[in-house]
């Protein structure tokens, strides 16, 4: 249908090109040093995790009985070794793979699922809204930590189970925000004007609603990534997330607790990674919020 190009029309010849919303956002982001710094840190963490095999690191799975619990700065082991003599630096960098994946993926999935549910509820209203939003209310009766642990605990340890439980935790809050934003936009005159043109509900949503609700929902979702990181690592810390011997920050924090009296600061290292990631994610989200002009 002809509607396909509705949002991407290109002008034939000389035009006075003016700035769209997104180029403005990009412009503001680039001029925000703290946000750019956090973005760089997160990017570095992700890239080093992805390309860990090419960084010339030690084998993160290979232990050594004689090289156990080397202190930070020991020759050959810049960050020491863990209770099984595995290189900490390698394990911390490899650990980013699972930790970041389980820490970010649920929010990504929940962003799509929650947006679909919330926009539908907000635009259609009526009974559909009632069914979706009352179900969401039920999930709000659980503190997020409790819900994640309950589902993960019932399902048992495992990467997929962690992803499932965390996704379930984050769909309701995103749905609620999406619904609120959409019902707000739904009342605006330009939606009436679009409906008055005879467009179907789906066309109105696609052309006029999504573009205007997605940035607040997106900003809100980014604000959840930090919590999701902490929870994901927390599940592994409790022993109901990633299983040993995989390197994962929360799990490493757990196993290293046994040596807290032997080499205390070493045992705190994986937590530093969780903390730095979570802090950067939070600051990044704040930066996005102001760059996108989204109000609370």
């Amino acid at each position: 249908m002809a509607m396909a190009e509705a949002t991407s029309i290109h002008a034939p010849e000389k035009v006075e090109k003016s700035k769209g919303y997104w180029s403005g956002v990009g412009h503001r982001l680039v001029r925000d040093p703290l946000t750019m710094f956090c973005l760089a840190v997160i990017a570095a963490l992700i890239l080093s995790a992805v390309f860990a095999p090419y960084l010339g690191l030690a084998d993160p799975y290979k232990g050594s009985m004689i090289a156990r619990l080397k202190p930070i700065g020991a020759p050959g082991y810049p960050l020491g070794t863990d209770e099984q003599g595995r290189d900490m630096l390698a394990r911390l960098i490899y650990g980013g793979r699972l930790t970041l994946f389980i820490g970010l993926m649920p929010v990504v999935i929940a962003f799509f699922a929650g947006s679909i549910l919330g926009i539908t509820a907000g635009y259609v209203g009526g009974l559909t809204n009632t069914i979706i939003m009352r179900t969401v209310d039920v999930f709000f009766a659980f503190p997020s930590v409790l819900l994640a642990i309950a589902i993960s605990g019932a399902l048992g340890a495992g990467i997929v189970n962690s992803l499932v439980s965390l996704t379930i935790v984050f769909i309701p809050p995103i749905t609620r925000v999406a619904e609120a934003v959409t019902s707000g936009v739904r009342k605006l005159d330009y939606i009436d004007a679009a409906r008055a043109s005879g467009a179907s509900a789906w066309t109105v949503i696609r052309v006029h609603v999504i573009g205007n609700v997605l940035s607040p929902i997106f900003v809100y979702a980014t604000s959840l990534t930090s919590v999701c990181m902490i929870l994901a690592a927390g599940l592994s810390f409790l022993g109901i997330g990633v299983r040993p011997p995989e390197p994962e920050w929360g799990l490493m924090l757990n196993t290293l607790r046994s040596v807290i009296y032997v080499n205390p600061w070493l045992s705190a290292l994986p937590g530093v990674m969780i903390f730095v990631t979570s802090l950067c994610l939070n600051l990044l989200s704040d930066g996005l919020r102001s760059a996108m002009n989204v109000r609370d």
């Binding site: 029309i9 006075e16 003016s18 919303y21 330009y190 043109s197 205007n212």
Partner: protein, 349 residues
Amino acid sequence: MSVTDTYQPLPDTGGPAQPLIRVSGLQKYFPVRGGILGRTQAKVQAVDGVSFEVKKGETLGIVGESGCGKSTTAKLLIGLVEKDKGEIVFDGHALGERLSLKDLRRGVQMVFQDSYATLNPRLTILDSVAFGAKVQGLDNPEDLARKMMDRVGLDPDRFAHRYPHELSGGQRQRVNIARALAMSPRLVVLDEAVSALDKSVEAQVLNLLNDLREEFGLTYVFISHDLNVVRYISDRILVMYLGEVVEVAPVESIWHEQAHPYTRSLFSAMPSMDPDNRTKEPPLAGDPPNPINPPSGCRFHTRCRFASAVCREAVPKLSGLARNGDHMVACHLHDAESGHPKAGQGVPE
């Protein structure tokens, strides 16, 4: 190829004698929810039994205080608000029978008051103007949109790729007009379309609207609270009070004589340039009554100087004046058999 050639209106079906749109017994009550279970507690009687018709090529002005149901009537005409009761017949085809909602919206378009709020901030002007034409599957929607922009006085090369916030109020309202016309409607509902504009811009837009009507053979329903503007553009004027029609008349007739006491108060509140033309009528006092629980009988009786017992009991019927059948009014003063002490004498001075 000029813009007139690209205009693709629905074909005329009933000839010039058939009204373009006719509504009868139109009713819309909005529920008010509350209480413990959120059930409907009351209903706002926004539009109650409104009937009128608009002839092909004419402009019907609708006036009344805010909250009288003007805007709801406008939204009912284009199906943005679903009617509870009544009939909407567009060029002989009744909505819901031989006419779908989508087809109605092909024939009827609307220009809203708030020029900014009616434009999607994330779409370029061209995208906004072409949207409806695309939805309706018209030929060359973008070409049509550009020509229509040009026609309303916006250079498409300069404005096509701009965003709403980069335009002035007058320019935005031209965009809204272009958007409505890009769908090639036959009837355009203008809901306070010029009210938010500066006086000088307002005059330009009004002239534009007059030109467009002639060029495309349009019919207008023009809603406004500004009587001078309505007089300038309308052929007939319809006066609403609390969801009901109290008077309908050709513009010169109603300017000469306001047959309903409410209309008279409304006109007296209008500033006049001519000192001899000022009425002695005191302006209306107080706010209109609550539309949740409107007064019995004639809804205006609580504010009417001439109210008598019959006004509280019987609902006056809309009927033509004895000496001029085109001038319709719903008031017991004009009905010789109504039982009003001054019945049949018209509105006293």
